[in-house]
């Protein structure tokens, strides 16, 4: 019989929108007192907007299971981890966690630049719930893992950022939780370091520790987790095997665009931090209906899009951004790459075409995003505006070995030429060793 390590029942978290980033004034608080005395609930009709970051969430994690949490930004992943790690309290529902919990919502929480490496290890360890004796016992291992031994008594403000991250993860890696909750902490550091962290997590998951892992790194979810939960706008959208969940997530992303139909309806994908005098209004692939297209490797890809200028702008740079579905930017092409660049434009609506002669991408599904800026500000960013599928152009002999990576490099291969016979090879290998 498997025992439950984490159980959530009807879990929900409501944020008052004002609460999240601005602090209230005392006057406003006093004005709210009478209302609060009358009905003790956070009143919904009082004009302050609230938002359910997470709602009606039910799930269970068995002991020793590794479960991934996938979702767009704002889907409620971080909120869920904050609730389970007790950083903040839920608004409704309940959750239970059995066993000693360690939550890594960030590596190096509490690190202080003025303190030495040694002091920070003790501080960070205590913050993560380790006992002092425990830290002392593991201290040498931690320093060795981080590979910072010569600098351990130097203030970490003199460390490179890589050294700081290594030291921080080293502390975290020596925790002894029964339930490990990990946020996107692995998104730091270089690729080699990320692999090291993933390897470390993977082994601990295989060894029977319960792991809850939030990541955008879909391959990592696949290899690390047996099951995964997809969150969408605060609700559980899917729960199943990691492979099925990743599949579901990718498809749901694609459907978002298919359902929206035109760029004008894609406004919820816009980030409103920009100047806002230029708006993309339409996007399509030439020779295809709307925002979806299938192309063969090496084929041309033509796109056409429209934008509206609310005022005259100069030095306009429009960029085409191509992402893989695990959110890696594969390519970016801007109008400054070509000459002459876009001159000063008056207010009005414009149509612009972009043609790729030969699409040198590996088979797979890709997203297209658009961004524009003038000399001063980012004016508009939309991601994604469309999707295209790349398929093999020729019958490939070994279809099951579909190529990895994103770029199709035109490599000229030679033919294998025998340089020695089998028996010679064996002798040679022995010699080398």
């Amino acid at each position: 019989m498997t025992e439950i390590a984490v159980r959530a029942e009807d879990l929900g978290k409501n944020y008052l929108l004002g609460q999240m980033n601005s602090y209230r004034t005392i006057r406003e608080a006093l004005a709210g007192v009478p209302a609060k005395l009358r009905h003790r609930e956070p009143a919904e009709g009082t004009g302050r907007q609230s938002m359910w970051a997470l709602r009606h969430l039910d799930f269970q994690v068995a002991q020793g299971e590794a479960v991934g949490i996938i979702g767009h930004n704002g889907a409620g992943k971080s909120t869920l981890l904050k609730l389970l790690s007790r950083v903040t309290g839920p608004t409704e529902g309940r959750a239970e966690v059995v066993g000693r919990v360690s939550a890594l919502l960030e590596v190096g929480t509490g690190f202080h630049p003025e303190l030495t490496g040694r002091e920070n290890v003790y501080l960070n360890g205590s913050v993560l719930g380790m006992r002092r004796s425990e830290i002392t016992a593991k201290f040498d291992d931690i320093v060795a893992f981080a590979d910072v031994a010569p600098h351990i008594d130097t203030p970490i403000k003199r460390y490179s950022s890589g050294m700081q991250v290594r030291l921080a993860f080293a502390v975290a890696a020596h925790l002894e939780p029964e339930v490990l909750i990990v946020d996107e902490v692995l998104a730091v550091g270089d690729a080699a370091f990320q692999r090291k962290c993933l390897g470390s997590l993977e082994r601990s998951a295989k060894r029977g520790r319960t792991v809850l892992f939030v990541s955008h790194n879909l391959p990592a979810i696949r290899s690390l987790c047996s099951r995964a939960i997809v969150l969408d706008r605060g609700r559980k959208a899917f729960e199943g095997t990691a492979d099925a969940a990743v599949e579901y997530y990718l498809n749901s992303r694609a459907n978002d665009v298919a359902q929206a139909g035109s760029v004008a309806e894609l406004t919820r994908h816009r980030d409103y931090f920009m100047g806002g005098h230029l708006h993309f209004t339409d996007f399509s692939f030439v020779g295809s209906e709307g925002t979806d297209k299938v192309v063969r490797v090496g084929d041309p890809l033509d796109m056409r899009f429209s934008f509206r200028l609310d005022m005259p702008l100069g030095d306009i740079l429009v960029r085409l951004n191509i992402y893989s579905l695990d959110d890696v930017m594969v390519a970016q092409a801007g109008t400054t790459n070509q000459y002459p660049p876009i001159p000063h434009l008056d207010a009005g609506t414009y149509e612009l075409s972009a043609s790729i002669d030969s699409l040198a991408l590996q088979p797979g599904r890709y997203a297209v995003g658009l961004s524009a800026r003038d000399g001063h500000d980012i004016q508009d960013v939309i991601h994604p505006v469309g999707y295209f599928d790349v398929v093999e152009s020729v019958e490939v002999a070994h279809i099951f070995t579909s190529p990895g990576g994103y770029l199709r490099l035109p490599v000229e291969w030679g033919r294998p030429e025998q340089t020695s016979s089998a028996t010679d090879t064996r002798a040679e290998v022995g010699h080398v060793e």
Partner: protein, 290 residues
């Protein structure tokens, strides 16, 4: 280099493996949770230790500041108030030693109050990223200035020797008044730290509040100057009894008005109880509001 695995779960230990956390919406008033603070005593120690280490980093004088601060205050007050203004401390006590003993305990309180009231905001990263009993933060703010106090006391001993003040049996009362000073600082610090999460006004008001508070406490003058009905209201300030009491315990001269100490302690305890309950009630939203 070989990559070590995350360490083995400590599941063999029965205590840890039976740990069971229930996460629910906060339902009204919570207990104070002293047991949990005890479990997190090492964090308390680490946070206080960090503050102590950071205090005088990259300063030339370092911990000499602990002595210099009350000493300079003493010089200024002795020259201005006693010299020019004609303020007297208590009969038979030279003004420098009178004011230094008062300043020493006062500066501890002022420092502890300021630090604990800003503790959650200065530790905002911790609050928004890790779970720990939130009371640990203001409590660590009350602990770390104890070192400054200890170092500052060295000069007090020096001054006492200079003015040939022998220790009396009253000295045995010193620990009591230290505890009462900690109590007063924690009581108000806990309230203010919780309020500061929402209203940063607290942070701006603190220097001003501390300054005013000093003048309504018998730091540079004697509480014996306050007479009649005003005396009761004066005693409501817990630091009135603490400063008077500390000075009496150290110098062993004059008399101590115990009613002042008792009234102040009652106020401290009431504020502390209310503060803890309030703190526990709002602490679950700290991470959202900070």
């Amino acid at each position: 280099m070989a990559v070590p695995d995350l360490a083995e779960p400590a599941s063999s230990s029965g205590l840890l493996s039976t740990r069971h956390t229930v996460i629910e919406p906060p339902s009204g008033w919570q207990g104070v949770g002293l047991r949990e603070i005890w479990q997190y005593r090492e964090l308390l120690r680490a946070l206080a230790g960090r503050d102590v280490k950071l205090r005088y980093k990259q300063t030339v004088l370092g911990f000499a500041w602990c002595v210099l601060q009350p000493f300079l205050y003493m010089v200024v007050f002795s020259a201005l108030l006693a010299g020019v203004g004609g303020v007297t401390g208590e009969q038979g006590i030279p003004y420098p030693i009178f004011s230094y003993s008062g300043l020493l305990i006062w500066l501890y309180f002022a420092d502890a109050l300021t630090r604990s009231s800003t503790s959650l905001v200065t530790n905002n990263v911790l609050v928004s990223k890790v779970y720990f009993p939130r009371l640990t933060a203001p409590l660590s703010g009350v602990i770390s200035p104890m070192l400054d106090f200890a170092i500052g006391s060295v000069l007090l001993v020096g001054i006492m020797i200079y003015y040939s003040f022998p220790l009396t049996t009253a000295f045995l009362l010193v620990p009591l008044f230290l505890v009462l000073a900690v109590l007063a600082a924690a009581a108000f610090g806990i309230w203010l730290s919780a309020i500061n999460v929402r209203y940063r006004d607290v942070g701006y008001a603190m220097p001003f509040v501390v300054q005013i508070w000093m003048f309504v406490s018998p730091v540079v003058y004697s509480a014996s100057k306050v007479q009649g009905k005003a005396k009761f209201f004066y005693s409501l300030n817990p630091m009135a009894g603490v400063v008077e009491g500390f000075r009496y315990a150290v110098l062993g001269r004059g008399t101590l008005d115990w009613s002042m100490v008792v009234i102040g302690t009652v106020v401290s305890l009431a504020v502390l109880t209310g503060g803890m309950l309030y703190f526990r009630r709002v602490e679950r939203t700290f991470a959202d509001a900070i």
